[in-house]
Assembly symmetry: D2
Homo-oligomer: 307 residues x 4
Amino acid sequence: MTVVLGPNRYGKAETRVVRVTRDGEVHHLKDCNVSISVSGAMEDVHRNGSNAAVLPTDSQKNTVYAFAKEHGIGQIEEFALLLARHFVGSQPTIHHARVAVEEYSWERQGPHSFVRSATETRTCVVHHDRDGTSTVVSGLRDLVLLNSTGSEFHGFIQDEYTTLPPATDRVLATAVTARWRHASPAEPADPPGVAPRGGAASGPVGSYDFGKSYDVARRCLLEAFADTHSLSLQQTLYAMGSRVLTTRDEICEVRLELPNKHHFLVDLAPFGLENDNEVYFAADRPYGLIEGTVLHDDAPAAGPAWD
Amino acid sequence: MTVVLGPNRYGKAETRVVRVTRDGEVHHLKDCNVSISVSGAMEDVHRNGSNAAVLPTDSQKNTVYAFAKEHGIGQIEEFALLLARHFVGSQPTIHHARVAVEEYSWERQGPHSFVRSATETRTCVVHHDRDGTSTVVSGLRDLVLLNSTGSEFHGFIQDEYTTLPPATDRVLATAVTARWRHASPAEPADPPGVAPRGGAASGPVGSYDFGKSYDVARRCLLEAFADTHSLSLQQTLYAMGSRVLTTRDEICEVRLELPNKHHFLVDLAPFGLENDNEVYFAADRPYGLIEGTVLHDDAPAAGPAWD
Amino acid sequence: MTVVLGPNRYGKAETRVVRVTRDGEVHHLKDCNVSISVSGAMEDVHRNGSNAAVLPTDSQKNTVYAFAKEHGIGQIEEFALLLARHFVGSQPTIHHARVAVEEYSWERQGPHSFVRSATETRTCVVHHDRDGTSTVVSGLRDLVLLNSTGSEFHGFIQDEYTTLPPATDRVLATAVTARWRHASPAEPADPPGVAPRGGAASGPVGSYDFGKSYDVARRCLLEAFADTHSLSLQQTLYAMGSRVLTTRDEICEVRLELPNKHHFLVDLAPFGLENDNEVYFAADRPYGLIEGTVLHDDAPAAGPAWD
Amino acid sequence: MTVVLGPNRYGKAETRVVRVTRDGEVHHLKDCNVSISVSGAMEDVHRNGSNAAVLPTDSQKNTVYAFAKEHGIGQIEEFALLLARHFVGSQPTIHHARVAVEEYSWERQGPHSFVRSATETRTCVVHHDRDGTSTVVSGLRDLVLLNSTGSEFHGFIQDEYTTLPPATDRVLATAVTARWRHASPAEPADPPGVAPRGGAASGPVGSYDFGKSYDVARRCLLEAFADTHSLSLQQTLYAMGSRVLTTRDEICEVRLELPNKHHFLVDLAPFGLENDNEVYFAADRPYGLIEGTVLHDDAPAAGPAWD
């Protein structure tokens, strides 16, 4: 028996960068959290602490800030691709880079004043390999949705531990974590996401428009949740994923994690009161957790996209 | 030396209640977190465990649900007053009640579909005493604001531990916790907040309109933060509190807690780049914390309002 | 009607400082979180942004680090007093200082190796005023305790909303937040907490030994919780506070916040099983919250100690 | 293009169960958080909301409580296996079950009194498939370790964004998340983990003793961290994993996630003070994140063990 090194990666997590771009009196704001992981020829550093192959995580952090200055931060997918390609392209010992970016949303209150808006966070995870391939997964988390009717749950298995009564009208609530994979990421001749020096990079890269793609995917999730008369949260999940896939050609796979945030009808009978689906207790734990994937039957191989 | 019992209170904290009201196909939603504390003739329970004076916290929780059904949940201040007066009015051993309510905001997506909106939470704390007096404090927390310019900080004390350079243009960001005291709470002949059975209580109680008061106070905070060319966060705090007081007569005191969410300009010189207020590191800890009170010189005594 | 400035304070919160002291090969570790608030002649900075009276929070942070070097960190109360007296003593515009320190506990694994131990955090809050008076409150939080029997709850008020059955044997669990006030803080001729330069200050200051006081107070809380056959959590609270007061003369007042972390007996009857106090559901929300003060009848006035 | 259903699973997450076992006056306590995910013939429920194949998550929760009563909770791996095999064995539509258990540690204070101890949480994840195979991964999280010397970092890549100076003596601190895979889980003729009815199941199952395995693995991690003179956190990671593998034959693979909790030396020169590795700032974000796997070269295939 011999001990060997298996899969590994390292990098700087949660570099918080805020990029301000000035358009005369009017400022624009991008507020992101960038996490980098790289891997490659890292046998030595694990076995004997030789750091000759190691780009310090501190340098990775510095790169985030320098690139934010040089290229601006446009769509987060572009910024992530730019970083991932840089690390793989500039260091022979780095064979693969994974860059995850979270973006916090701000609403304008004045020419240079902003208020944090929305509970959800936009996300992306990008992989780039030294063979030249990239994968891009976009997404969001903490999008909290609730339907106060239009949801049922019955006809389920009854085993010896089943006490749940069937429900023909319940509250359905969840906090959506959604990630969707792009069929083929932009592969422009020029570095993606490169804006005029100091400018706020944005807009299509190659044939892609990550901003529009995000907006429509998010709306699909919201609308499918609201539109679907639900017999189970799984059905709603499938409807949400399908809506994204059938609306946006560039997206080939959607993964959803939907906690069932239980709202239990309070028993008011002891107080001589009926509860006609009016008063609910919002429970914390335990909760149902529904996880599922919806994809095109001809989706290209995912590679490391979901790692 | 004798050991004696000092100030004490007890109650059920964080009862999560969601109230749905149906207006034909259109549903309305109130999503609250209710925390109750009562005090009074509690010497015996502390000294020997006699519970004869104790209304169980479980009963307090039940009361929240029953009242949500019977009276609906209108403005949270009204619901809190209703509960506080009930406990003091119905139990001789309860001399004082404090009810705190948090309300989470939802935005409509369809007739019965909602999405959680905004990062901030609306709050209130109500006290009611058996002498008949009530105090009402309204507020909010987690309202995150940022100005990307229009803020300076210089002319401060230089002591032997001072290394901070003066700033004539900085990012100013904070997460507002604000609470404001109403000069005199509604004291209607009828119980406040009582809506037609099953209806969604709302609107003015006596001469009060807590909903409008909240909306305007919130807007004052937002606008004063955005409008004020700031030489210090204290100046901005004072401007925010003053704006509320001079705009709304019914509010006599404002308390603000403003963490200074530091955004440090990243030094890009080692990379041959200038940083003309473009790239910032958003720090977590430590942070400045500015706390202050702004009030009318003739504000009535606060009593237990802030406890 | 005129708008006036009320109570205010500002400072640097949550400066995280780790102090290593070397005793040959053996290292000692103090890991603290320091929060400073000062107040005084701050009218101008609020009204017009003049910072002439303002010691930057950045300088306060620097002072924490410099003092950690110069004086070491002994008992946290001593370090807090040292800082509070410095700010008031060195700046005419600062009339009052409040310093709160949290300490995280580490257990030794080797001469220079440590593992974080215990879930609880030791705390203190110190006030110092320019009239020369100091107050010291010590404490802890997140000390999680559970008795699996020896707790009852019955004989309580039955109102129309009461459905809770009486209990003669229940689980009693809580996460203790305790703070205790010292009757008179150390007022030595020499600065308190001053250790030989670079040394690990510790041990008695004047007639005080904050370390021993803490250890005994903590043990009193633990033992009184375990020893008390409880008819209510209030009774347990009183017993815990009394135990501290009657054991340690230097402590004149104890404040406790005890969430009743409900453990509900699961109904196993539907599965043909009895539940003889064996299987519990540990609930999150809502929870009872019991807050109370126990003090000496001749305790000196608290001043701002609890603020 | 057709939309198809990909990998999916569902279940009840975070069922909080506390099991008390009485040995005369002396009570024993197990405090766990159980998360279940099952998968199988779930095409219909996703496509049309037919729940005929769905065992409600509520029934899963009930099973946790009923099994805690009937079988006790011994080693968490045994309890997890018991549950996983039950779901797969009793429901034809469930082809695969994943059960994750967290266990919180309590220290005895009296015959029936306990205090929460340690910051770390013991964990396990068990998979069971209808082909009869099981996999068991044990682990822990939030084990916080620090070496105040014996750590270096130099000889790394210098790129254009590198400003980090080499370090020959630094603080190394991390919060360990470790998971280790058992080469072959217990496959006893009798259901594993089955204790005498009402008893506290514990001890070896088949040839396994999960309790001892955990204790030794945890000690290996602690000791390897403390013993290793570290030239990089990767080296320490590898040493930690190797120590487990070479000490315990039943463990064939170890995965570690080690955030580098940076402790930066504070620059005290502006205050005329030297900082001879005495005063550190404990930073929150960003942080390095080192992830790696160490395994036997002849480890059996992992199957879904890590999912």
